[in-house]
């Protein structure tokens, strides 16, 4: 009697392998179709998500720009405030000077003897055309 078990085993192995291959191919085909369907379903949402991402990027950029402008304005305000403090200090000093001058002015005599006249170069009174004097002269 011829031993046919190896052949049968080979046939069974071959059939099983073929069946597995067919099943795998079927499953692969079904999986591919499913993936295509899912991708088709997700395509609009993906576009929306992309647009939302772009908008978010623009908003972020604008926010960065606003932050930069705020920083610049804050720096300018700080500089102005510092300058204002300086002005206030100088104004206070000026007020003190004005007060001092006012006090000095009030202490000045109303009549101040005039200094020597620089144009007077003659040693005696120059010749005159007339004399202004008290009325009632003889």
């Amino acid at each position: 009697m011829i031993d046919r078990k190896p052949v049968q085993l080979a046939i069974v192995f071959g059939a099983t392998t073929g069946l597995y291959a067919v099943s795998l191919a079927t499953v692969t085909m079904l999986q591919g179709d499913h993936d295509l369907a899912v991708a088709a379903l997700r395509a609009p949402v993906s576009a929306d998500v992309g647009a939302l991402g772009d908008a978010n990027d623009r908003l972020s950029a604008e926010l960065d720009q606003a932050v930069a402008m705020y920083g610049t304005a804050a720096d300018a305000y700080g500089a102005a405030a510092a300058s204002l403090v300086g002005h206030e200090e100088r104004l206070a000093e000026f007020g003190a000077v004005v007060t001092e001058v006012t006090g000095s002015a009030s202490a000045l005599p109303r009549g101040v003897p005039m200094p020597r006249v620089s144009r007077a170069v003659t040693r005696s009174a120059p010749r005159v055309h007339a004399t202004t004097r008290a009325s009632g002269a003889p």
Binding site: V117, R123, A125, V128, H129, A130, R133, S135
Partner: protein
């Protein structure tokens, strides 16, 4: 050389002097308004100079007839006698202008200059023509003027001595200028007040001395005047003893009715017009030693003043015109 021209009915010119023909300066002298009157004409013809002197004498005669408080027959005495009664008189052009000028001067000097001090002068012993008893005087009477009819009613008697002399110089100078060629310079002096036009023939400008009001009467300063007038209010001459044994002078402070100008002997002011130079010299005098500098500088006046101790002071405007001072000439 005696002038044939009577300056006033009571005051005849003492002389008229003219330099030799080689000298272009012609001088005329007389008296008016109780003071010396003189005219210098530099250049031009003798006939024109004579005509100018005639015009000057005529003008001063008219002013004396209208504005003198010492004349019994003057227009001023007539309206002074009616002062306070409300009665009005038609007056001449000169007196009307003088009354209007005193009103304006009183406003512009904040009341320092006020011609309504005649009663104070009379009370202190400086008498003019008698005014009589003012029976009809009533309280609340205001000075009224109507320019269309030249009608005037005074509230109180006026003394137009100072401003009257200034106005006489203004009007006489205008008439002299009409009689002379425009290029001819002349100097007109009345009682120590001077008005000049044009240029002198011997100098670039007119040199006017300011008299020291103390005893020696020598110049305390010399100033240059190119055009206009220079007038002095001084107590050097018109001083007297009152019945109370006090000394008085003729510059009355209208706020007190008493002689004013404490600490001052004389004030000189240069201005375009002699009447206003008179007004400001008197108003500044009444500021006294303590107030004169501020008042004169606030008004921008060219002013000089001599204090009781002989100290000469001046405003910046006065300093610009000063060419000599005795103080600078004295050894340090």
């Amino acid at each position: 050389m005696t002038s044939p021209l009577p300056v006033t009915a009571e005051r005849v010119p003492t002389s008229t002097q003219m330099a030799p023909d080689a000298d272009p300066v012609r001088r005329f002298e007389g008296r008016a308004l109780a003071s010396p009157l003189s005219l210098q004409v530099h250049g031009g013809t003798h006939e024109a100079a004579e005509a100018a002197w005639d015009a000057v004498c005529d003008e001063f005669t008219a002013v004396d007839a209208g504005l003198s408080r010492h004349r019994d027959d003057s227009e001023l005495t007539a309206i002074n006698r009616l002062a306070g009664s409300g009665q009005a008189l038609v007056v001449g052009r000169r007196l009307y202008t003088a009354i209007a000028a005193t009103d304006r001067a009183r406003r512009l000097t904040d009341g320092r200059f006020d011609a309504r001090v005649l009663e104070d002068l009379e009370r202190l012993g400086d008498h003019g023509a008698p005014l009589g008893t003012l029976d009809g005087r009533a309280a609340g009477i205001m000075t009224r003027r109507d320019p269309s009819t030249r009608t005037v009613a005074l509230d109180r008697p006026h003394d137009l001595g100072g401003i009257g002399k200034g106005l006489a110089l203004r009007w006489a100078a205008a008439r002299a200028a009409q009689a002379l060629d425009p290029h001819v310079g002349f100097l007109l002096e009345a009682g120590g007040d001077v008005v000049v036009r044009g240029r002198p023939s011997d100098d670039p400008s007119w040199s006017i001395a300011i008299e020291d009001p103390r005893l020696d009467r020598s110049p305390v300063a010399v100033v240059a005047v190119d055009h206009g007038a220079i007038c002095t209010s001084s107590v050097a001459r018109r001083r007297w003893w009152t019945d109370d044994g006090l000394t008085a002078h003729h510059i009355i402070d209208p706020r007190t009715g008493q002689p004013g100008g404490d600490g001052l002997l004389a004030v000189t002011v240069a201005a375009d017009d002699p009447a206003w130079a008179e007004v400001w010299s008197k108003a500044l005098f009444l500021e006294g030693r303590r107030g004169i500098a501020g008042a004169a500088r606030a008004r921008g006046l060219a002013a000089w003043w001599v204090e009781s101790d002989g100290q000469l002071s001046m405003t910046p405007g006065g300093r610009m015109r000063t060419i000599w001072t005795r103080e600078a000439d004295e050894p340090a």
